[in-house]
């Protein structure tokens, strides 16, 4: 059995088997995307009758129609804006809180941590009504300051703040686990170098948690980008609505315009994939950078 050929053959077979498995799973992931893309080039009457993945006469104009009819121009900007602000705030707030809970002396911090955990677990039926009441009472929905510009800033905040809140629990939970792993001497040496509490957090803890932060960014970008319920509930101006509002135009109570809907979804999915690619690099390269410092 101590035969090099045996090992080589075994290795080739096992790597072939592995590749087959990986390709198989990958195929199930790509297929829906291809189907979506193919359907976006069909017509309402062929979308469920023409079973080919890619139609013979592709209707590229669907993309133009979807973009204009869904008024994606304005919505696109709004969504980019909401997503960026919300996710940046989530990353900053959760990393600070998780760092505090994990490393700093704070009586009562465990209770706070468990409260955040509980928020992930307890579904609050009808929470929307309560949330709406809060936002109304705080003046986020009908600010009425008399200045349009200020009104709009407040309305946008009214949409952003609850979403930041949505992302807190998960972020704190994940980051605390990462911060718990930081060796104590790493912190101590930074302190000797003259770093204050915030310095240690900013220069030591954050870079080390890069992979986790990248994951949190991906999760929340996806969540905020696809957010729709809250926008419908609290926003009234069409000009403030996010991208998903554009997709709704194609989904009537009874009538769904599938090809246009698929074109619209394809448009909305692309930025997410780009963000993911960028964050993946952070996950991979982040480690080496962190290690170098350690």
């Amino acid at each position: 059995m101590e035969n090099p050929i045996y090992y080589r053959v075994k290795k080739i077979f096992s790597s072939m088997f592995l590749q087959m498995f990986l390709v198989g799973v990958a195929a199930t992931c790509i297929f829906p995307l291809l189907w979506m893309f193919g359907s976006s080039l069909k017509t309402q009457s062929t979308v469920f009758s023409d079973m080919s993945l890619f139609p013979k006469n592709p209707h590229w104009e669907n993309y133009y129609i979807a973009w204009t009819k869904g008024e994606f121009g304005v919505y696109f900007f709004n969504s980019v804006f909401y997503t960026a602000v919300t996710v940046v705030c989530i990353v900053i707030f959760t990393s600070m809180a998780a760092y505090g809970i994990s490393r700093l002396r704070m009586p009562g911090k465990n209770i706070i941590f468990y409260a955040f955990l509980a928020a992930m677990m307890i579904p609050i039926p009808g929470a929307f009504v309560a949330l709406y009441a809060i936002l109304i009472n705080l003046g986020f929905i009908n600010p009425g300051t008399g200045v349009d510009l200020l009104d709009n800033v407040i309305k946008r905040l009214g949409y952003i703040l609850p979403q930041i809140n949505q992302g807190l629990s998960l972020g704190i939970f994940m980051l605390k686990t990462f911060f718990d792993k930081i060796p104590k001497d790493l912190e101590d040496s930074a302190r000797i170098d003259g770093c204050g509490k915030f310095g240690v957090y900013w220069h030591i803890a954050l870079p080390l948690a890069k992979p986790a932060i990248a994951v949190i960014v991906i999760i929340n970008v996806l969540y905020v980008w696809n957010e729709y319920l809250l926008a419908m509930l609290i926003l009234t101006d069409k000009s403030l609505m996010p991208l998903q509002r554009g997709l709704m135009v194609f989904q009537g109570a009874h009538m769904t315009q599938y090809p246009l809907l698929m074109s619209g979804i394809t448009i909305t999915v692309i930025p997410i994939i780009l963000v993911y690619l960028f964050m993946q690099r952070q996950i991979i390269t982040g480690i080496t950078a962190g290690m170098a410092k350690g």
Partner: protein, 297 residues
């Protein structure tokens, strides 16, 4: 404690201040309201002063509500499948991509596609795959390869409906586990593997000695997120079976929605939320504590 120390600790709270402030503003009130609602009979429309105080009647009713406990069992079943199959798949793929196999970059991209897809696309695709007619993808291929006798109405038979829903859920969810596990694997210093190899450890031994111990905290995260994500499953069910046939694919959230939207029973839905949340909370805490014990040993 002297003054400087107090001030020192006080400044520590600045770290949690933004998060806690937002949390208190947007979560605490709905959360407390939940408990208040659970002891009232209210339709969500009448002014609150016309709500009727019913003490713990909703909780008593809930204990005897067979469809509720059936929905809990079914969500539990899907969760078990997700914990085993979905997470095993995610781990296997993450390990493969961590080991620098050919085209790892492409795979890293592709495996994250299911979570990115819009719910409506997922619904359409899987409704087509499990379509009961001969043009349903699954039935079509079964017939093609000579297993036509297995073709069936997948989503409409009690024996298969729940499993099909679980499959859809696992397919949609493994990408999350994949990226979290991959991030965890990537943060294991390569030197440790190198050292293990020099000690003469084979792949399996270094997995056991290096990977597993360092990954325990990440496993905890993935397991908890799987439990929470799966127990709160509902959109896939709305898009495919609507909880049917009969009550065979009902889950807690669909029952909650039935109480809330179907019959406007805010109080009852709140009681469900409390019971459900309590169970999840206890399960999660037990899990965290147990894994802490395991780690210490």
């Amino acid at each position: 404690m002297n003054k400087a120390e107090v001030r020192h600790i006080a400044t520590n709270y600045i770290f949690i201040l933004p998060a806690v402030a937002l949390f208190a503003l947007f979560w605490l009130y709905p959360f407390l309201k939940l408990f208040q609602l659970s002891v009232f009979e209210w339709d969500g429309i009448l002014p609150w002063n016309q709500a009727v105080f019913v003490k713990f009647r909703h909780f008593r009713d809930l204990l005897r509500d067979l469809s509720w406990w059936q929905s809990m069992r079914q969500a539990g079943f899907i969760t078990l499948i997700a914990l085993t199959f979905q997470n095993a798949l995610a781990l296997a793929l993450a390990l493969a991509c961590d080991k620098g196999i050919r085209a790892a970059r492409a795979y890293r991209m592709i495996y994250f596609l299911p979570p990115v897809l819009a719910g409506i696309v997922v619904g359409l695709i899987w409704n087509w795959i499990f379509n009961p007619f001969d043009y349903g993808l699954l039935n079509y291929w079964l017939t093609r390869i000579g297993l036509g006798h297995l073709a069936r109405a997948w989503l409409s038979e009690p024996k298969t409906a729940l499993i099909c829903v679980a499959i859809i859920h696992c397919w949609r969810g493994f990408g999350w586990g994949f990226i979290i596990l991959l991030a965890g694997l990537q943060s294991i210093p390569r030197e440790l593997y190198e050292a293990a190899r020099i000690d003469g450890a084979n792949a399996w031994e270094s997995f056991k000695r290096v990977t597993i111990p360092l990954m325990v905290p990440v496993f905890v995260i993935v397991i908890i997120l799987t439990i929470l994500g799966t127990m709160q499953i509902y959109d896939i069910i709305i898009a495919t079976t609507q909880g049917g046939p009969h009550f065979h694919t009902e889950v807690p959230i669909t029952r909650m929605l039935a109480a809330l939207r179907g019959s406007s029973r805010f109080g009852y839905a709140s009681a469900m939320g409390i019971v459900f949340g309590l169970i999840l909370f206890v399960v999660s805490i037990v899990h965290i504590k147990v894994s802490q014990l395991v780690k210490q040993e």
